[in-house]
């Protein structure tokens, strides 16, 4: 296949970027999208051009490091799929593909297609944990948790932190990410003790980072590689309202 790529090139965080045209030939339909970029980079390097920087690591859809706007859609045309799991068979010979970073007000570009998602780490460190030190844990089976509760908590916990929810949200909101963690820990007895403080602190941190407000368009769930449910957002709101009512 032959493809026409329009790729966002930006030297570093301080400069502004622009779309640059590239043409790649002999693209194999079984290539993953990132392998296609590898293929392009190989050519660029040998032609004394600067290769395109993009984030990636595990290439099996679980580390959450990859993430590109492909033709204006977070992680590309397949729903609930990471960029690394997207294969070129989804495109046609001669296609024009726009390749842009997950850039929002909070996710600033570091270089080319790489963005800074450290705000997510700060949201977690504001309260996305159970305060238990190493070595204090009671025997695991003393706390019974029903099968359904565990499965539901797992569904919330499956988030890979890729940031597609923020990129795809017209408001650049991070509530799906934040809510998934709040919701996971609120559902489990282990996390319930500190639920009040957790929801206050995490929401506060999310705001301080400068993420937008949720307007429930629900696009985030559609593009989320893990199909994290928007009902997590409802649960976060519940937790917040509950905390607000019970606050002393």
């Amino acid at each position: 296949m032959k493809l026409h790529l329009k790729i966002w090139r930006q030297k570093n965080a301080e400069t502004t970027g622009k779309l640059v045209d590239y043409t790649v030939e002999d693209v194999n339909p079984h290539m993953s999208f990132l392998e296609m970029l590898d293929h392009l980079n190989e050519k660029l390097i040998l032609a004394d051009d600067e290769p395109v920087e993009f984030d990636h690591d595990c290439r099996e859809g679980i580390c959450g490091q990859c993430g590109i706007m492909i033709n204006g859609i977070a992680h590309g045309p397949l729903k609930n799929t990471t960029t690394c799991q997207l294969h070129m068979r989804e495109f046609k010979d001669g296609d024009k593909i726009f390749i842009e970073p997950f850039q929002t007000a909070v996710f600033s570009v570091r270089k080319d297609l790489k963005v800074d998602r450290s705000a997510f780490d700060r949201i977690i460190s504001a309260g996305g944990f159970v305060s238990v030190n190493t070595g204090q844990a009671p025997e695991a089976n003393t706390t019974r948790i029903t099968h359904d509760t565990t499965e539901a908590a797992f569904d919330s916990a499956a988030c890979i932190g890729c940031g597609a929810c923020v990129a795809t949200c017209k408001n650049g909101s991070a509530v799906l990410f934040t809510a998934a963690k709040i919701s996971q820990l609120a559902q489990l007895p282990q996390g319930r003790e500190e639920r009040t403080l957790r929801v206050f602190n995490m929401v506060k941190q999310m705001d301080e980072e400068g993420f937008g407000n949720c307007s429930n368009t629900e696009a985030c769930q559609i593009e989320c590689p893990q199909n994290i449910s928007v009902l997590n957002i409802a649960r976060m709101n519940y937790e917040y309202n509950r905390a607000r009512i019970l606050r002393k």
Binding site: K6, W8, L19, M69, N71, G72, I73, A74, K79, F98, E100, F102, Q103, T104, A105, V106, F107, V166, A167, T168, C169, K170, N171, G172, S173, V175, S183, V203, K204, M206, D207, G210, F211, G212, N213, C214, S215, N216, T217, E218, A219, I222, E223, V230, L231, N232, I233, A234, R235, M236, N237, Y238, E239, Y240, N241, R242
Partner: protein
């Protein structure tokens, strides 16, 4: 003020307005009565509303809600415009419905409609010189009938109700989300109720001018 507080303000003011719409709707159902009876009871009803101090307090609450809802929305929308990504090639809209993304525009349309609506009826009722009906109440009913003889007013009202419909469908859904209803079963149920509510209210309101236009 944090994002969830802003959301809860949107939610509570919105729900109050939704509640008001029910009352307003039930009152206006009198327009569907036979003309003479409608005139009598509608005017009496209007008189009752305008004279009652309790209703007055409620109405101030209502104005406050409209203003708070609009200002909060304006603030949120401006903030969201800044925080959202802007892409050279943007197809993000494939993942959501247009009306969920354009609540601001729908709201603005409704706001414009409200200005017209107030000017049409409320302003005349308060400050205009309306004739009195047989019972000595201001004859708002006739004003309504006369207004809805103009096809373009009917059209504006019908289109506005369409905007209101979409605004309500997403608004009620969003409000229950903000309240924190997370159980899938009830979410489904409430969502359906919300749509039913929006259909009944908006269709009902839209039928009023149409009914009057065609029956007089």
């Amino acid at each position: 003020m944090n994002t969830l507080t802003r959301k809860i303000i949107m939610c509570l003011t919105g729900l109050f307005l939704c509640f008001f719409l029910i009352i307003h709707f039930l009152g206006n159902l009198q327009l569907f009565l036979p003309a003479e009876e409608a005139q009598k009871s509608f005017n009496a009803y209007s008189h009752f509303l305008s004279g009652n101090p309790f209703i007055k307090i409620i109405s101030y609450g209502l104005y406050a809600c409209i203003i708070a809802h609009a200002l909060d929305a304006l603030y949120i929308t401006i903030q969201n415009k800044k925080s959202g990504g802007a892409f050279k090639h943007d197809k993000r809209d494939r993942a959501s419905k247009w009306y969920t993304r354009n609540m601001g525009i729908l709201g603005f349309v409704i706001l414009l409609f409200l200005v017209l609506h107030f000017q049409n009826f409320w302003y005349y009722y308060k400050f205009g010189s309306l004739s009195l009906d047989q019972s000595g109440n201001k004859d708002l009913y006739t004003l309504v009938v006369i207004s809805f003889q103009q096809w373009w007013i009917v059209l504006i009202y019908v289109l506005s109700m369409l905007a209101l419909f979409y605004h309500l469908v997403h608004g009620v859904h969003s409000a229950t989300r903000t309240l924190g209803v997370f159980h899938p079963k009830y979410v489904r149920w409430i969502q359906k109720t919300g749509v039913l509510y929006a259909v009944v209210i908006c269709l009902g309101f839209a039928l009023m001018p149409i009914y009057i236009y065609f029956t007089y």
